[in-house]
């Protein structure tokens, strides 16, 4: 895997006193029934990668969609890039959303557009010249090792390839926050590792803060105990006992956040649900 960047990393190392990129305070939401999320509070600091764990149906995807305002909370406060968005009008949310990149569970590629137009969607809206679009799309596709799919339609791609194109679409605009909704869900182990390697690569090359939703522990652990080696062009295992200090964990149980901490704290947790989940 080459470390060919989409463009040179531009974001400098985050200032120590920079505020959180995302901050949830006592957020609750329900849809015609019992609450999906209750009093959820957490934050994502600049340069931090957070992994949201939990079994299916506990509200992980809902939480992710709350971050960029695709859902509105019933109660509580959500800050994105320092701006309160829980009651922000939809028109004002669009500029904020362009600063985030989101990878949906099944990719959510536009099936009537080619891979080129999917990846370039945001650039096309901004009327970037065609030559520049082509060049940036090729760079983004090279990053996910799918340059040959440039002219193809999503229907002719495999599930894993669609996720990688979705990752390229999320990366191309050099977002200030990345949101991954179960990026490996339903994929075979080899393809899952390829996707996680891309996320590790993005984390270690660009240091973009991110939140990855998953119910697969092995993906979370790979993310935490590997780093991307630009010389080898692939991810490598960290020395035994070492983990990535900027990768931390959250865990949801029935809409409540029951864990917020490092991998070390996670495996040492005495919470019954966490123990059961880990086992």
């Amino acid at each position: 895997m080459n470390a060919s960047p989409i463009s040179q990393p531009q974001s400098p190392a985050p200032a120590a006193d920079a505020g959180p990129v995302v901050a949830f305070r006592n957020v609750s939401i329900a849809f015609d029934g019992p609450p999906v999320l209750q009093d959820v509070s957490f934050s994502i600091a600049p340069g931090e990668t957070r992994v949201l764990l939990g079994p299916a149906g506990v509200g992980k995807s809902v939480l992710l969609k709350l971050i960029n305002g695709l859902f509105r909370p019933d109660r509580g406060s959500i800050q994105l890039f320092g701006e309160e968005i829980s009651h922000m009008p939809e028109e004002m949310l669009f500029p904020l959303r362009t600063r985030t990149g989101m990878v949906f569970q099944e990719g959510a590629l536009f099936d009537s557009l080619t891979v080129r137009d999917n990846v370039a969607y945001q650039l096309i809206q901004e009327r970037v010249p065609d030559d520049e679009i082509d060049s940036r799309v090729r760079d983004a596709l090279r990053f996910v090792e799918l340059e040959e799919t440039f002219d193809l339609y999503p229907a002719s791609l495999s599930g894993g390839m669609r996720r990688r194109v979705a990752i390229a679409r999320a990366f191309i605009h050099q977002p200030e926050l990345l949101l991954y909704d179960s990026p490996t869900g339903g994929l075979d182990p080899v393809t899952s590792t390829t996707i996680i390697e891309l996320i590790v690569k993005e984390r270690d090359v660009y240091h973009t803060p991110s939140l990855m939703v998953t119910h697969r522990l092995q993906d979370a652990f790979i993310l935490c105990n590997h780093r991307f080696d630009p010389e080898l062009g692939r991810m490598v295992l960290l020395p035994k006992g070492e983990t990535d200090p900027n990768t931390t964990f959250l865990m949801l149980e029935e809409g409540r956040l029951i864990f917020d901490g490092s991998l070390h704290e996670l495996v040492k947790s005495q919470n019954k649900f966490v123990r059961e989940f880990l086992q």
């Binding site: 960029n68 959303r97 949906f104 536009f110 099936d111 945001q122």
Partner: protein, 258 residues
């Protein structure tokens, strides 16, 4: 307890009407505010306008022909077969042309809008569009509504012309009447208020069929089954609402343009 399902259904109806009103209001405002996505408008104008041309031509010809057949049979009892042309042209232009075109186009396009947008909703493409900072109301809904209004206006003119031609064909070749007399009567008794009435209606019908198709598409839930349900609801609601609004519009227009 026995009234619970009725109460729930009533609440659902009120909620749907409220949601549609807000949706239609937003869609209407967007028609006048930039950005207007012109390439999308042209694509939709082609799908809605050119794509519906054949069914509008066929239904216009048939309806005009049937009107001529039926009216000639009735008018002959009073010795007034000469006014067949007047009867066909006024009925087509004031009433049947706009309504028939509205219902036919809604059957074809409200359903396709609901199923297309519904599929995009259930596969998270609409959410993806919002996440990419693009407003689906402006990108997807406004071009469909704008092009439906414009194209239904022209399709109605085509349907009117085809109806009069269909009537002429039946009058000459089946009823063996004078074609010149038919066309003279059709033309002479046609006044500006009749034409205005016939051309105001499609503006409303185009808005109704497209806003309802998009509304049901955008609120689709429940996977592929939900897409099918949204499609049926869109066609039924659009057709019924077109006929009901036609009744209201006719009353208003008859007062304004007697």
């Amino acid at each position: 307890m026995a009234l619970d399902p009725i109460e729930k259904a009533a609440k659902n109806i009120v909620l749907t009407v409220q949601d549609y009103s807000l949706f239609a209001y937003r869609a209407f405002l967007n028609l006048w505010r930039p950005p207007i996505y012109w390439p999308e408008f042209l694509v939709q104008a082609d799908i809605i306008g050119v794509g519906s041309l054949s069914i509008v031509v066929l239904s216009g010809l048939s309806t005009g022909g049937v009107l001529a057949l039926q009216s000639a049979a009735t008018l002959s009892a009073f010795g007034a077969t000469a006014v067949t042309g007047q009867f066909v042209s006024l009925t087509m232009i004031r009433e049947l042309g706009p309504v028939l075109t509205g219902v036919m186009v809604s059957g074809r396009n409200a359903s396709s809008m609901a199923s297309e947008l519904g599929s995009m909703v259930v596969t998270e493409q609409i959410d993806a569009m919002r996440a990419l900072g693009v407003d689906p109301m402006r990108k997807l809904v406004t071009p469909r509504i704008f092009s439906s209004i414009v194209m239904l206006f022209f399709l109605t003119i085509v349907a009117d012309a085809c109806g009069i031609l269909g009537g002429a064909f039946v009058t000459v070749f089946m009823n063996h009447q004078n074609g010149t007399q038919y066309l003279d009567m059709a033309w002479e008794h046609l006044h500006y208020p009749d034409i205005v009435q016939g051309l105001v209606k499609p503006l409303f019908f185009g808005y109704i069929l497209s806003s309802i198709g998009c509304f049901y598409g955008m609120r689709t839930s429940g996977g592929t089954e939900g897409v099918g349900r949204a499609t049926i609801q869109a066609v039924v609601s659009a057709s019924v609402l077109i006929i009901f609004v036609d009744f209201l519009l006719t009353q208003v227009l008859l007062r304004l343009l007697p």
